[in-house]
């Protein structure tokens, strides 16, 4: 379950020259066949995106925030295996540090995932210049892929 309190009254980091970016770290556990994503997103922007997604004037709160976040993330974030079969993602918690939300999502693959595909268009509906970084950590190596508006699934590994 997502934590609704994170959505309220997010302060802005700045308003003049914003860096419209999110960072998503992806880790694959070969023993449990688990794919875990940790999405870092500025809370104020995410709240605005949820409000827009649910067509309300201000960011939802409480249970409505959870529902809106689940629905929004479901439309903006996707992980698939080598055959492009979607991996269902569920929430594994949300926390907030200062202006930033840390949203955990995880899913289970049917096979050992030696090739993962992904898509992350969080906030691309909100900002023309949104750039989302997705980093797949494999051992000591990190592979990064950038996502912008209109992007589909891309190979992460």
């Amino acid at each position: 379950m997502l934590v609704a309190a994170h959505s309220v009254g997010a302060p802005t980091a700045s308003s003049a020259h914003p860096l419209h970016t999110t960072l998503t770290e992806v880790r694959v556990d070969a023993t449990t066949h688990t794919v875990r994503l940790m999405v870092r997103v500025f809370a104020d922007d995410f709240g605005t995106a949820l409000a827009r997604h649910t067509r309300v004037a201000s960011p939802p709160v409480g249970r409505a925030w959870d529902d809106a976040a689940t629905s929004y993330l479901g439309s903006a974030v996707a992980i698939a295996d080598r055959a492009n079969t979607p991996i269902a993602l569920r929430s594994c918690g949300t926390r907030r540090t200062a202006d930033l939300l840390w949203i955990c999502l995880e899913g289970t693959t049917r096979e050992v995932a030696n090739e993962i595909r992904g898509r992350n268009t969080i906030l691309c509906d909100l900002f023309d210049d949104q750039v989302n970084i997705v980093q797949l950590t494999s051992g000591t190596e990190k592979h990064s892929v950038l996502f912008t508006r209109g992007d589909g699934l891309k190979r992460l590994s």
Binding site: A13, S14, T22, F42, F127, K142, S144
Partner: protein, 201 residues
């Protein structure tokens, strides 16, 4: 793509995007007084700006320097206004203090302000591993600045042509001075409006 290339691309995109208009306008104000033959002088000024900008970005992101975001966002348009006014006031650079060679110094000082503008975002997002993002983002920004300056050179050359075409024979001002005044006035007006909008008090 490796992570360094990712962050270089992020910094580059950040500067060339229209959302970064305050940064682009500052570079335009800096470049407004130069012609192609002054490329070396322009390079000194931009290098000084880069150095100042990199110093603050590194200090702020690593936590060695804490700056109130509202104040920084206010000071950024002030630096643009100051640069534009300097362009307007100094009509003969050979008679300016230090023969006009102070310009890299103030570009460096103003660079300190602009560098702090990005710092809050990078610090918040890459809180646990900042070195590589910081370096890559900075390299990307510098590459983006060079791109913006090249575009500015083309734009200014175009303005020169328009001035040469429109200027009445009775006008005494050299074409370069007319260009400097025209560009700087636009820059000052736009940046003044931003300064008022961002007034933290």
């Amino acid at each position: 793509m490796n992570s360094l290339a990712t962050f270089i691309q992020l910094g580059f995109r950040h500067i060339i995007d229209v959302e970064a208009m305050d940064h682009i306008l500052f570079l335009l104000a800096l470049a407004a007084i130069y012609r192609l033959r002054d490329a070396r002088d322009a390079l000194w000024v931009v290098t000084a700006f880069t150095v100042g900008h990199s110093i603050t970005l590194a200090l702020a992101v690593t936590g060695a320097l804490t700056l109130p975001p509202a104040l920084i966002e206010f000071l950024i348009p002030i630096t643009i206004v100051a640069t534009g006014i300097e362009n307007l006031v100094v009509s003969d650079r050979t008679r300016a203090p230090w023969g006009g060679r102070y310009r890299p110094v103030f570009a460096g000082v103003f660079g300190l302000v602009h560098g702090a503008g990005f710092a809050n975002y990078l610090k918040a997002l890459f809180v646990d591993h900042i070195a590589l993002p910081l370096f890559g983002f900075n390299v990307g920004i510098e590459l983006g600045q060079i791109t913006v300056l090249l575009a500015a050179a083309v734009l200014l050359a175009g303005i020169d042509r328009v001035i040469a075409w429109l200027r009445a024979p009775s006008v005494d001002w050299p074409a370069l001075r007319i260009r400097i005044v025209a560009v700087s006035l636009v820059v000052v007006v736009v940046a003044s409006r931003w300064a008022v909008q961002r007034n933290p008090w």
